[in-house]
Amino acid sequence: MREVLEKMIHLARLRLPDEERNRLTKKTEHILEYIERLKELNTDTIEPTSHAIEVVNAFREDAVKPFSNPKKLVEIAPKSFENLFEVPKVINEG
């Protein structure tokens, strides 16, 4: 289990110290054990429900609506430069 969870932690873009990974493994195992009880039910012929209320596509006009303060969207970023979000260098020089 721990190995599988290591992979999940990476997929979820988390970086946990050893102690924390142990805690997480124990708790996840405990929860999964409880979830196992769903196996008692035969659901072969049952359709899945993704939303309790059936909704059809909610189409709306593909029209441009002005946003009151587009500058603010960039300004609230932890680091920004003019109208760009700033991140560490992504491409290495060859």
Partner: protein
């Protein structure tokens, strides 16, 4: 003070909105250090709104029953220009550049927003102990939790630190804390209230609703919150109704079902007794109360703990430390920036659910967990629909809201399952998308509130409010307030 009561006083010009707001801030200043329900106070903004409301009234205008009434929002509602943290470090410095639809609706109603209320981080929790900004305490006994995740809302309403509040409910987060704090909490039908501007936890389950001191206020608040919103594609496009219209109608002849699976071993005897007494009360009022069965009830919690974390892991992928919120100060490359920002930004319970959600959605496990849970969801929904239709023809289902009254701080924080089971009676309602309402029905010997839950048919909030109002009128539980 209640919405209706205050609204009448304001209309009669017995008091001004500014005076009322000032009074509430004074009370908050003295009691919030004990209870920790408010995360953010909006004194300047609130007094400005109150002044504007008073000016409207002086001219003989009013925007309705909420005009000039001080309310507070759970800190999951996006409020333009006002800090919105979702009780998480990852959003600790987030000031949204826009208003969510609900926040805008309250502004339009003339309500005065006192501030933002504490909660479990990202609404994940049942005790309000998973807030990054400290736990909330139950106003009835400070050693006890107020319930969660809308614990700040429930405590603030119970302690009268606001007239009414909003909450959100993904698996019981309005109803369970309402029950534990002795107030009225309503989770409407999925789609009734917009999710636009509601920080997402599990999108197929999340639903916002009112938390109030009585049923009338619940209806008045729902009138402001409900309605179609083109910004939320799951918002139901229906004509708006006046939810207060059914209040006062007789409940004679209405059929109320008591599902036997909700009165199982492990339920606190005082809770069981209070709900049984409430069932008798309903009979006295002319309703027909009969036992019924919802056979898949025990599979609701395990199905929920697949579906909710799965949706949460996808929803919380957006917190990347780049566009808003917390960013780690020391990252060499982009991956490290993501990983460190997320790891330092999320608390332990949120981390656990993200990892669990990623696991149940991953290749090789998807069918066994996520698809299985969605099929079980179908069965749970079917149980309810049968009880409402041919099976029992019930108008509503009556259950306890929570299996126990409030528990002590620290009692369940180490064992996720123990914590999750405090939502055992509320979770099925979210899975089925039904409306559910919790209202006070007694007190334990230790003096802690007990709540009952009424579950209604899809879109039948009016009937729930009608039944709840009838019960409230014939009991005095809702009139009790904690001594603080």
């Amino acid at each position: 003070m209640k919405v209706k009561e205050l609204s009448e006083k304001l209309a009669a010009k017995k008091i001004s909105s500014v005076e009322i707001a000032q009074g509430y801030f004074k009370k908050i200043e003295s009691l919030n250090p004990k209870l920790n329900c408010y995360l953010i106070l909006c004194k300047e903004g609130a007094l400005k709104q109150a002044k504007e409301s008073d000016a409207r009234r002086a001219k003989g205008e009013t925007r309705g029953p909420l005009d000039g009434v001080p309310i507070a929002l759970k800190d999951i509602f996006v409020t333009g220009g006002v800090q919105t943290t979702c009780a998480s470090k990852i959003l600790g410095n987030y000031i949204p550049p826009y208003d969510g639809t609900t926040s805008a609706a309250f502004k339009k109603s003339g309500a005065v927003m006192l501030g933002k209320l504490n909660m479990d981080e990202f609404a994940m929790g049942s005790s309000n102990e998973f807030s990054a900004f400290g736990p909330v305490r139950n106003p009835w006994n400070l050693e006890y939790i107020p319930g969660g995740s809308s614990g700040g809302s429930a405590a603030a309403v119970a302690a009268d630190l606001c007239v009414a509040a909003t909450g959100t409910d993904t698996g019981g987060s309005i109803r369970q804390p309402a029950s534990l704090c002795g107030i009225v909490g309503m989770k409407p039908t999925y789609g009734r209230v917009t999710r636009y501007g509601l920080i997402a936890f599990a999108s197929s389950l999340d639903q916002a609703g009112p938390m109030t001191k009585d049923v009338t206020d619940s209806a008045l608040m729902l009138n402001v919150m409900a309605g179609h919103d083109p910004m939320d594609s799951t918002s139901l496009n229906l004509q708006t109704t006046d939810f207060a219209a059914s209040l006062g109608k007789s409940i004679k002849g209405l059929r109320i079902g008591l599902p036997k699976e909700y009165f199982i071993e492990g339920i606190d005897p005082e809770v069981k007794e209070s709900v049984a007494k409430a069932a008798k009360k309903f009979e006295e009022m002319g309703a027909i109360v009969e036992e019924t069965s919802l056979p898949h009830t025990k599979y609701a919690v395990p199905a929920y703990y697949i579906i909710a974390p799965a949706e949460a892991s996808a929803n919380l992928a957006r917190y990347d430390g780049v566009r808003y919120g917390y960013q780690t100060p020391d990252a060499e490359d982009l991956l490290e920036l993501y990983e460190k920002s997320r790891t330092h930004g999320f608390g332990p319970e949120v981390t656990l659910r993200i990892v669990l959600g990623t696991y149940v959605l991953s290749t090789g496990y998807y069918d066994a967990y996520y698809l299985k849970a969605q099929k079980v969801r179908t069965l749970i929904k079917k149980d309810f629909l049968e009880a409402f239709a041919s099976g029992g023809k019930f108008d509503a289902i009556l259950t306890p809201t929570a299996p126990t009254p409030a528990f002590k701080l620290g009692e369940k924080t180490d064992d996720p399952l123990k914590m999750y089971l405090s939502d055992i009676f509320t979770i099925p309602v979210n899975l089925a998308g039904l409306p559910g309402l919790s209202l006070p029905c007694g007190f334990s010997k230790a003096g802690l509130p007990i709540g009952l839950q009424l579950i209604g048919k899809h879109l039948d909030e009016e009937k729930l409010l009608q039944i709840a109002f009838a019960y409230e009128q014939s009991t005095e539980w809702h009139t009790r307030r904690p001594a603080l």
